[in-house]
């Protein structure tokens, strides 16, 4: 509707008072997600023994890091009004490539880079096909979900790849996933935090982030403003693939072990986290802070169910219910505030 139901002939920016930072925060989409997370913390504190404590929180942080890194990438894709269903397979592709390179005797930093690069190429191809063929990314990445999985299985020949700690460099490589900064913060969590902050800055403060919101909101309007919508989208897919590849490398480093089937179904958890965080599948909206909160929400929920000793089958049920509830609550609140 409209805000013009006042008698003032013109309300210039000067005469009207801008909402205070607190009001802005309360209206922000993140506020409701954050509130839900706080509630979850309260529930956890009450019902789950051992929930409160630095050890448990850090271990939750460790557990959500790989998911979170992938979610940062997928946030870019979803804001561009596209979807990336292939990240679980790209995760495996990154891990398998890196594992093979290490077993082949390549220095571990180069092998790690190789795994990330494999993800970047996979992501770039997702974008190039979506834009180049002009077909929906849902279809393209549904295809590459299977295609990249197949490549990972072919590369590993279906057999697990184990890194033996006798091999030179493997001990150092394992620090990426297993190490702790200052002997306290899990290295994976530190990497996730750095990437989340970087993602936040790029999304909210860079020309590229601006272009992503513009293209996701209206690709045609963006084109008429001289923005190359195709390039912006391809870049988003490449970011998503790169971060999925990196996440795979961290997974390998954490377990010293990878199989072609690793990461199956992970794309759904990643997309769930982004959506719980408030990004709309129509594109053009969503924030990195929201995604981080969404990731934390899923992590904390699973942690509470674990601590209560509830079966992982129920965790799967709970995650599904939460996605529906989150979007339903958001839709309800939007309706109430009269925004359409």
């Amino acid at each position: 509707m409209t805000q013009l139901a006042t008698d003032e002939p013109t309300t210039t920016p000067e005469t009207a008072s801008a909402p205070s930072p607190l009001q802005r925060f309360l209206h922000a989409r993140e506020a409701s997600t954050l509130l839900a997370l706080v509630l979850l913390f309260v529930v956890g504190t009450v019902v789950a023994p051992g929930f409160v404590g630095a050890d448990n929180f850090l271990s939750v942080g460790q557990q959500i890091s790989q998911l979170g890194i992938m979610a940062v990438g997928v946030t870019f894709v979803i804001i561009n009004a596209e979807i990336d269903l292939s990240v679980g397979s790209v995760y495996a592709l990154g891990a398998v490539s890196c594992g093979l390179l290490i077993t082949e005797g390549l220095a571990w930093p180069l092998a790690a880079l190789g795994g990330v690069a494999a993800g970047a190429v996979a992501g770039f191809l997702n974008g190039a096909m979506t834009v180049g063929f002009g077909i929906p990314s849902f279809i393209v990445t549904l295809g590459t979900l299977s295609l990249y999985r197949g490549v990972a299985l072919l590369l590993s020949d279906g057999a697990p790849i184990s890194l033996s700690s006798d091999q030179p460099g493997v001990a150092e490589f394992n620090l990426l996933g297993q190490g702790e900064l200052f002997g306290l913060f899990p290295m994976q969590l530190v990497i996730f935090a750095l990437i989340a902050v970087l993602g936040m800055v790029v999304l909210s403060r860079s020309r590229y982030g601006f272009n992503s919101y513009a293209v996701g909101g209206s690709a045609e309007a963006a084109r008429l403003c001289g923005i190359n919508a195709g390039h912006v989208k391809i870049a988003a897919f490449t970011i998503s693939g790169t971060l999925a590849g990196l996440s795979g490398v961290l997974g390998l480093s954490f377990l010293s072990y990878v199989q072609g089937v690793t990461g199956t179904g992970m794309e759904l958890t990643v997309i769930s986290a982004v959506i719980i965080g408030g990004a709309a599948l129509f594109g053009g909206s969503g924030t990195m802070l929201g995604t981080v909160i969404g990731v934390a929400f899923i992590g904390v929920l699973q942690n509470i169910l674990n601590l209560r000793g509830i079966s992982s089958f129920w965790q799967t049920v709970a995650t599904g219910a939460v996605i529906i509830l989150a979007v339903a609550a958001d839709t309800w609140m939007r309706k109430r505030s009269g925004k359409r």
Binding site: T2, P13, A221
Partner: protein, 515 residues
């Protein structure tokens, strides 16, 4: 509430709205609105964007429920505000602006949806087609009802929606700005259909911005402003100026363009834009010069190629031949980016889909072309961006509580002003305007005209196109009439008449013959 309508004829009241209010959060979209639509007549409802017309129509069609007040249809008070109840129980149908049809299904299926003959689970297909054809025939349309709706143009799809309301035996039909997507000829056909419905005793509510059609069709006129009912007239006794004053809440000075400011430069000065034999999809061999400060208005039917010509000049669509020069330099944009670099601006006709970034703030929308000015160390400076947008918004009198607000919360006119601010930021040499005031209310239109005028006074050349012919004649210095992809004639606007231009656009005559 001056001069409340007193239906002089003692005929029954078909729709009686009493004390209706509708609140959206803090916004009062309708405030104690009362009006009556006598049976078998056409009641026009006018008002600026945001006046509450659409909300009122939505309530009457059951798409929204009121916060307070009552609606009585044919003597029965409405208890449940939902679309199905309004349609099947109260027989009120809506012809919305955005036609909601199943594009892949046939005309017949769309028309008979919900009123299929035969057993409910297995309707009689042959009879569906037959009845649909009969209903279309009643509207003077002999279209094959088996064709998919998606193949039809907007005007014919609209007829399908009207036929659908007849299929449900609607006694009251609501038209929400039905001509906004139609060419003049198509509008005329619609008016004939509406006349026919009136002859059949159908009561109609007619929402529009356009004065001539309201006077052509309606029996009564009601005006809403800021959600309140501010005036009602019998159309026969009404003066257009009174209605406009009620709509804007103040008296309006006429003069879209001050006579005499027409630059006598068109022949003297070197052309700002020189177009020679330009060809592309939908248009052919277009040759025209635009002088600095001159407004060329391109008139023609929607399929005349005028929209395609504008897009091609801006580099949004491919050209297949011909040349352009901008201030004497070759100008051959391959993309909008090239055109923007050459300081050419383009205000697209489809504001919602091609103009605004719907999920972004007013500030971001205004600054979309000039982000680079607000970058330091590779980072956007949000505060400087906001300050800049505030300044532009104030200059163009964009009504917004803050530029941090979402652009979709502004009315159509204010969105258009924000988009104009976006393009002014590149200090354009040439502005390409497609339907510059579509969906813009009367008051904002006047402001936009004044803005265009101040631009041309600064020497900006304008290539404009509009399906609103009186507007185009008023803002242009010269009119280029297009028909079937070609420029038929270019004439000074002062000498052109609506009738003459339409005759050429429809291919009936050339201007010389009319003169």
């Amino acid at each position: 509430m001056s001069g409340a309508a007193s239906p002089s004829d003692p005929a029954a009241v078909a729709v009686d709205v009493s004390g209706l209010s509708k609140q959206f959060g803090p916004v009062r979209a309708l405030d104690d609105v009362s009006l009556q639509a006598p049976a078998g007549t056409i009641t026009a409802v006018m008002g600026e964007n945001g006046a509450g017309k659409s909300t009122l129509m939505k309530v009457l069609a059951g798409l929204d429920s009121p916060t307070a007040g009552t609606v009585t249809v044919a003597g029965e008070q409405v208890r449940r505000f939902d679309a199905a109840t309004m349609l099947s129980r109260h027989r009120v149908a809506l012809v919305p602006q955005e036609l909601a049809l199943a594009q892949a299904r046939s005309v017949a299926e769309n028309i008979m949806l919900g009123a299929e003959p035969g057993p409910r689970a297995f309707p009689n297909r042959a009879e569906i087609v037959q009845r649909a054809a009969a209903l279309l025939g009643r509207l003077g349309e002999n279209l094959d009802p088996r064709r998919p709706v998606g193949e039809l143009d907007a005007a014919t799809q609209q007829l399908v929606v009207i036929a659908r309301s007849l299929a449900r035996d609607a006694n009251v039909v609501i038209f929400d700005e039905p001509t906004s997507v139609l060419s003049p000829a198509e509008s005329e056909r619609l008016f004939t259909v509406i006349d026919g419905l009136r002859a059949d005793g159908v009561t109609m509510l007619y929402v529009s911005h356009r004065m001539p059609e309201v006077f052509r069709l309606s029996d009564h006129v009601h005006v809403l402003r800021d959600g309140r009912h501010v005036g009602a007239w019998r159309t026969a006794d009404a003066e257009p100026d009174d209605i406009v004053s009620a709509m804007v809440g103040r008296t309006l000075q006429h003069e879209p363009k001050a006579a005499g400011t027409t630059p006598a430069t068109s022949s003297a000065a070197a052309p700002r834009l020189q177009v020679r034999e330009l060809r592309g999809a939908g248009f052919d061999s277009v040759t025209v010069d635009i002088a600095p400060g001159e407004v060329i208005g391109v008139a023609g039917l929607p399929d005349s190629g005028r929209i395609e010509l504008l897009r091609a000049v801006f580099g949004a669509d491919h050209r297949t031949g011909g040349t352009m020069h901008l201030d004497g330099e070759p100008f051959a944009p391959h993309s909008p980016r090239d055109a923007i670099r050459a300081r050419v601006a383009y205000l697209p006709g489809e504001r919602r889909h091609q103009g605004i970034f719907p999920t972004m703030s007013v500030a971001d929308n205004v600054n979309a072309l000039t982000l680079d000015r607000h970058v330091r160390f590779g980072l956007l400076r949000r505060r400087s961006l906001r300050r800049d947008a505030d300044e532009h918004a104030r200059e163009l009198r964009v009504k917004t509580s803050t530029t941090a607000q979402a652009i979709t919360q502004l009315s159509g006119g204010n969105q258009q002003k924000a988009l104009l601010a976006r393009w002014l930021s590149i200090d354009p040499r040439l502005m390409v305007l497609d339907e510059p005031t579509r969906g813009v209310d009367v008051g904002a239109k006047a402001e936009l005209y004044a803005l265009f005028r101040s631009l041309t006074e600064r020497g900006v050349a304008v290539l404009a196109s509009s399906s609103d012919l009186p507007e185009l004649l008023a803002i242009s210095d010269r009119i280029a009439v297009m028909a079937a992809g070609r420029v038929v004639d270019i004439v000074p606007a002062a000498e052109a008449t609506e009738e003459g231009v339409m005759a050429m656009a429809t291919g009936a005559r050339t201007m010389k013959e009319t003169a």
